[in-house]
């Protein structure tokens, strides 16, 4: 496993600080439900960054990574749905809870490779598309300021990060492991920056 460098640590620290800012101030104008889900999403990002700083990339070997990394897109997409598509809040909440539980159950009671991958791909796919498309469509339609589209960019980056991690965990990485671990801190910091500026604009 690649040793974590000082630069990697600095990038994760910046990610943690951006996530902290977002929890404290960046989501203050949202509704109670959205504040709660955003806090969970950015909170997991913050704690994950701190743990990588402390324990290095070895922590990515943990079987919990796939489950925990699902929380970030799910909770952020829940917050977006609650704020911008409030009629869909309850159905999407049910989808999120069921999806998350399915991932947890299939992770620990493995019922074949397809049964393990399918829920992860579905949940990540739907949540990722919401974070990616909703801000961009709303910005294009003029329902939100143009800068809000940056949240969609953050969503794309989180999707790339999630894909790289999933392939890494599956043992069939699309890029060499070293390259993925070199890209990961950069992706994290860019994603957090896009979210902070995007939410500030929206």
């Amino acid at each position: 496993m690649k040793k974590i460098s000082v630069i990697d640590r600095i990038l994760f620290l910046i990610t943690g600080l951006l996530a902290s800012y977002q929890i404290v101030d960046g989501i203050a104008d949202a509704g109670t439900f959205a504040i709660t889900t955003y806090t969970i999403g950015f909170g997991v990002l913050l704690v994950a960054s701190l743990l990588i700083i402390i324990l290095g990339f070895d922590i990515l070997d943990s079987p919990l990574v796939v489950t925990v990394s699902t929380i970030i897109p799910l909770s952020l997409s829940l917050g977006l749905v609650s704020e911008y598509l409030p009629k869909w809040q309850t159905p999407y909440l049910i989808f999120a809870i069921l999806g998350f539980l399915t991932i947890v159950i299939t992770r620990y009671k493995s019922t074949g490779k397809l049964a393990t991958i399918l829920p992860v791909a579905t949940v990540h796919g739907v949540a990722g598309m919401i974070i990616f498309l909703l801000p961009i469509i709303f910005s294009l339609q003029g329902k939100t300021p143009g800068g809000f589209a940056l949240v969609g960019i953050g969503g794309a980056l989180i999707g790339i990060g999630g894909l790289l991690l999933t392939f890494l965990k599956s043992g069939k990485p699309i890029l060499p492991k070293e390259t993925i671990l070199t890209l990961l801190p950069i992706l994290f910091v860019l994603m957090a920056t896009a979210f902070v500026f995007g939410f500030a604009a929206g």
């Binding site: 909170g43 913050l46 402390i54 324990l55 070895d58």
Partner: protein, 284 residues
């Protein structure tokens, strides 16, 4: 000049700079929970100086007294006293002078503040180190109480009294200490065994120790949350504190459910970071 530099290089490891800074920050946070924004630079300088000197003084006195057991542990045997780089009498004099200076400044600033600072130093050096550390694993409770004195002192200096928030903040530090010390004693259990110092892992086993860490982490997180609410910390900062507390609790639970050296080390480091962050958040 070179002689002075050499001396300073020897003195620096005697004060455990990271631990001293963390305790100093708790004291400043205690004061700022009552007086924020800070408008009295003189008081802040006095508070910083007296806390720094008192904490450093007590650490030097502890190092002086524990030099025999430090010499038995690989982790500590390179320290200036057990390695023979520094004379024991010189360390004792230095510790006494710095402690007296620190407590003196504290008393001159405010009698109650000075009394609490003196109490912390007395409990740490006399009750914890000299009396109980080599006799019982429960000595850490007294170590925890002394660790909670800087924040209580800071709060008392700001309010002029010992209020429930000050006591809650002290309890938060007291319950945080086992997370910090017990994870450390699991990591270095062989060292402590060599030195004959009773610890929770050696007395009660690792399972009991990990359960204690988990319970004390929960208590520390809950009490610090209550104290922060009492202080009037803004919702945004409370949310951040809740997130950081959730991280601490997750690691504590992970150390019980799936114990490993990695989780233990992670919890030890995260606990320090958690306390530092919580103190900074209390300042706002």
């Amino acid at each position: 000049m070179d002689k002075l530099k050499t001396k300073l290089r020897l003195y620096l490891p005697l004060i455990k700079s990271l631990q001293t800074i963390l305790l100093l920050v708790t004291g400043l946070a205690g004061y700022m929970t009552a007086r924020c924004p800070v408008t009295t630079a003189g008081t802040m300088i006095g508070l910083t100086l007296s806390l720094f000197l008192s904490v450093s003084g007590s650490t030097i006195l502890n190092m002086w007294y524990d030099r025999d057991i430090d010499a038995k542990m690989p982790r500590t045997q390179k320290r200036p006293l057990p390695s023979g780089k520094m004379d024991a009498t010189e360390a004792l004099r230095l510790g006494l002078v710095i402690s007296i200076l620190g407590v003196g400044i504290a008393v001159a600033m405010d009698a109650l503040y000075g009394l609490i600072i003196f109490g912390g130093l007395f409990i740490d050096v006399v009750i914890y180190t000299i009396w109980l550390k080599r006799k019982t694993a429960w000595s850490i409770v007294w170590g925890g109480i002394s660790g909670g004195m800087p924040i209580l002192a800071g709060r008392a200096l700001g309010t002029g009294t010992v209020d429930w928030i000050g006591i809650a903040l002290t309890l938060a530090v007291l319950f945080w200490i086992p997370t910090h010390i017990l994870t450390f004693s699991i990591r270095y259990r062989k060292d402590y065994k060599l030195a004959g110092v009773p610890t929770f892992p050696s007395t009660y086993g690792e399972t009991f120790t990990r359960n204690t860490i988990a319970i004390s982490s929960i208590l520390a997180a809950v009490i610090i949350g209550i104290a922060a609410y009492g202080v009037g910390t803004e919702w945004g900062f409370l949310r951040l504190m809740a997130v950081l507390s959730a991280g601490l609790l997750s690691l504590a639970i992970a150390s019980v459910v799936k114990p490993s050296e990695t989780v233990n080390f992670g919890l030890f480091k995260y606990a320090s970071l958690y306390m530092l962050s919580a103190m900074i958040l209390l300042m706002f």
